[in-house]
């Protein structure tokens, strides 16, 4: 039995990101391909170095998330273009994300 497909939003969420590269503060933008309370996969052309500290801001179905501290754990390219993998660093951000995602994906399951 295969795992059920994750819930999808109608449009990919736009993300503003800020990071340091070569000592300079740089900004970029992208869209979320995948979001969990712990990590995000972001389609972006921004040249974020692996291991860099990144701050991201986005709005998830009306709930704003501002300047979330992340670390770029990896980068690559696929058919959709370039992506970076981010992990959220602060526990309180993870809790907020989890609550919001849970609210958006919550479907009561029948008793067995």
């Amino acid at each position: 039995m295969s795992a059920p497909a994750p819930p999808m939003l109608a449009e990919a969420i736009p993300v503003l990101l800020a990071f340091r590269s070569g000592g300079d503060r740089r900004e970029g933008w992208g869209r979320l391909k995948r979001l969990t309370p712990l990590r995000a996969l972001l389609a972006t052309r921004a040249p974020v170095p692996e291991g860099a500290a990144v701050e991201v801001s986005f709005t998830l179905e009306g709930t704003p998330f501002r300047n979330l501290a992340c670390r770029a754990e990896g980068a690559g390219a696929d058919d959709d273009g370039r992506w970076i993998a981010l992990t959220f660093q602060r526990h309180e951000d993870r809790i907020r994300l989890r609550r919001t995602i849970e609210d958006l994906t919550w479907t009561p399951r029948p008793e067995t």
């Binding site: 994750p6 503003l16 900004e27 933008w29 391909k33 995948r34 526990h91 029948p110 008793e111």
Partner: protein
């Protein structure tokens, strides 16, 4: 090959974009203004490449295009690298923005990405426990040393009297206790875990993490475990290995400190509003009645059994209420088993014996007490 309309006020830029698109195998159609764009819709473009002109605000143009052709993807070529402006375009509905200078590769990737709708997949993941403060870390180390010395977390019993038994718990922040018939379940709000204990020895049989909520009250009834968090959310859980949630409600009365099931109704005790509420365990957790809490302090925990509704307040006073009229108090007494410096945080009834759990105001382990069967 796709028909792609270019909307750019600058002729030279427009021609350059057309050349790049042709080189990528697409068929460009050019428009110099929004009016042109609206007039040459017969070309049925699959994508609009909008070129921002320096000094001009293209946001209105994109908004107009989105309004006139809602299904047409829009790729914006920015006049300058401006992430804030790019976000504004994306929020207006542009599929992507390209920073200057626009290379063939970047345009090709942008066009490819814009022609395929993109969506965000949402997934839940279990959170790791929060990083403990240094003091808690030291406590955890101490607990590990005790375990390493061969102590099993069968609780250490201190005899208070013939019938009241006090058990030290292997965690510091117990809150909420429920009896399922074969086990005592105790929540640890700080560790976000529910522990299953042997009801005789209080040895820990299992620890089930609930990373998304800090359990502050527990109740067993209607074939489910009911739990609350400090924000007034009540969750109904199946008694399986993961305590799988099967329902969740946000209660209007706010913070819930006590839960119990009387066989028919789910009762909730609300600290800030000093309320006792009787609820039907239906899809809405419909309130069937609400009463002011008659204790001298605010309620701290409640329990139900055939003798009535029990509550303990923040001062440690134990009350027995009439289930039909909870404002009527049949008995009041001091809850035994605790001295000064303890905060009772959970109450349950198991085979007509009351159990309670409490946190120490110091840094020591939490405590569970099996109370004497009398004088209640």
């Amino acid at each position: 090959m796709a028909v792609i309309e270019i909307l750019h006020a600058d002729l030279r830029s427009r021609l350059e974009l057309a050349r790049l698109l042709q080189g990528l195998g697409h068929q460009p159609v050019q428009a110099a203004s929004l009016r042109d764009f609206l007039e040459i819709r017969d070309a049925k473009p699959e994508l609009l490449v909008f070129g921002e002109t320096e000094g001009a605000d293209g946001r209105e143009v994109v908004a107009e295009v989105r309004s006139a052709a809602p299904g047409l993807p829009v790729l914006v070529c920015l006049a300058a690298h401006d992430a804030t402006r790019a976000m504004e375009y994306l929020l207006l509905g542009a599929t992507d923005c390209l920073a200057p200078p626009v290379s063939r590769e970047a345009l090709g990737a942008g066009v490819k990405g814009a022609l395929v709708p993109r969506r965000t997949a949402l997934e839940l993941e279990e959170l790791p426990p929060p990083p403990p403060p240094p003091r808690a870390r030291a406590l955890a180390l101490l607990a590990l040393l005790v375990l390493g010395a061969g102590a099993i977390w069968a609780a250490r019993r201190l005899k208070v009297d013939e019938e009241t038994r006090v058990f030290a718990l292997p965690y510091a922040h117990p809150a909420g206790i429920a009896f399922t018939g074969g086990a005592l379940l105790i929540g640890d709000w700080y560790g976000r875990t529910v522990y299953e204990h042997d009801p005789e020895t209080l040895a820990v049989r299992a620890a089930i993490p609930l990373p998304r909520e800090a359990p502050v009250a527990l109740a067993w009834g209607a074939g489910a475990l009911w739990a609350t968090d400090p924000e007034g959310n009540v969750t109904k859980r199946r008694l399986d290995e993961r305590l799988t949630a099967t329902g969740r409600w946000k209660l209007a009365e706010g913070e819930v400190v006590g839960l119990c099931f009387d066989g028919l109704y789910l009762w909730t005790a609300h600290r800030s509003g000093r309320l006792l509420v009787k609820r039907i365990p239906d899809e809405e957790l419909t309130a069937a009645g609400a009463w002011p809490y008659p204790g001298s302090g605010r309620p701290a925990a409640i329990a139900c059994d055939r003798r009535g509704l029990w509550s303990v307040d923040e001062g440690g006073e134990l009350l027995r209420h009439d289930l039909a009229d909870p404002e009527a108090v049949a008995d009041r007494s001091k809850l035994g088993g605790y001295g000064p410096g303890w905060k009772v945080s959970g109450l349950a009834s198991a085979a007509d014996r009351l159990w309670s759990v409490a946190e120490s105001s110091g840094s020591g382990p939490g405590r569970a007490v099996r109370h004497a069967g009398r004088p209640w």
